[in-house]
Amino acid sequence: SPPRPMCDTRVMEKFIKEAKDAEHAMGGCTNSCNFTEVLTVPDTKVNFNEWKKMDRQTQAAEVWGGQALLLAALLRARELVSDPSVAQQLSRTYSNLRGVTQVLRSHDAQVEPASPPAPPPTLSVQTLPKLLSVHSNFLRGRVKLFLTDACRTDAG
């Protein structure tokens, strides 16, 4: 059976705070944190004027598509870094994002829309600080907004 919808705001707060911690911990990392290849990640930008006009399926597609991109980028980044402590950090971040995936799944974010959606807007990153910044802003932005609305609907 699918996990019950999770609307405990403390859960996302914990994931977000940990994402910010990871971002700050690695923020100063320069040379050894450059990747040898370019990773594609979701754009984190949210324009509230546009977001509130978007239908739920489009929002879900953006969040779910972005989530998949970010998971793949974190997994690839872990293979690209050589420093064991950095790899460890990325492992924890990856594990947390898997947890977020399940929270989204519990709100049917993965339901495929009737017509294939436009691919989510993307960015290219080539450094670890930028990747972790995208991760943190993606969670604070699109993921949390989607869940806030989902929980409002569930409650009603």
């Binding site: 705001t9 707060e13 977000i16 705070k17 910010k20 754009d43 984190t44 930008k45 949210v46 324009n47 509230f48 004027n49 546009e50 509130k52 960015l123 802003n137 993606f138 604070r140 932005g141 699109r142 949390k144 907004l145 806030t148």
Partner: protein, 217 residues
């Protein structure tokens, strides 16, 4: 007050709050996340007043913004840019540059995120009433309405007996009521409340204080 349309009639109030709290220029604030206003003030602006302003939304092309110019009650000149609603993105970097026209002299440069410069309207409908237990006040108020910020708000209640220094109580997690204990009996207290985002997904500045109320314990 206007909703979501940049600075309100209270622009001077908001500017005064930011001048107090924010050392960097240009100072920026959003009232409902769908608007953004940036400004800076100067005692000795160049003459003619020929500043220019542009901004870059990460991954986008630079955009020029027409500056409004006006004199403030505290006798400075304020230069301000009200962003068009499509260029107020949260959760991404927004690069800002103010320069002197006909030159490439940057006078102010700053990078912000809209979700980190939230300046809310003050809470309203503050009420305080003495409870049955002497020396206690039950306090409640209405937070400013923002769909996505409800549980991410942090309030601060100030209370003071007549002639005494005010004391502060921190109210976390979007709660909008509290019980103040251990007050002096039969004393007149004045209270007010203000609000800001809790800093996790949204951050910014303390709002103005609400209208104050007075109550006898």
């Amino acid at each position: 007050t206007q909703e979501g349309s940049g600075p309100s009639d209270d622009f001077n109030t908001q500017a005064a709050l930011l001048l107090n709290e924010e050392p960097l220029d240009p100072k920026c604030f959003t009232r409902c996340l769908e608007d953004l206003t940036c400004f800076w003030e100067s005692r000795d602006p160049p003459n003619p007043l020929d500043y220019g302003f542009f901004y870059v939304v990460e991954g986008d092309t630079p955009q020029h913004c027409n500056l409004s110019v006006g004199r403030t009650p505290w006798n400075t000149v304020r230069f301000s840019c009200i962003f068009p609603p499509q260029d107020t993105p949260s959760f991404t970097s927004l690069h800002l540059r103010a320069y002197i026209s006909n030159s490439s002299n940057i006078v102010h440069a700053r990078t912000i995120m809209v979700n980190q410069v939230v300046l809310l309207d003050p809470p309203s409908n503050l009420t305080a009433r003495a409870t049955e237990t002497p020396g206690q006040l039950a306090v409640r108020w209405q937070p400013p309405y923002l769909r996505y910020l409800e549980s991410s708000l942090r309030h601060e209640v100030a209370f003071a007996a007549e002639g005494a220094e005010p004391q502060m109580v921190d109210i976390p997690d979007g709660h909008t009521e509290c019980l103040i204990l251990n007050l002096q009996g039969r004393t007149r207290y004045t209270l007010a409340v203000r609000v800001r985002p809790d800093g996790v997904s949204y951050s910014g500045y303390w709002s103005a204080w609400s209208a104050s109320v007075t109550v006898v314990t």
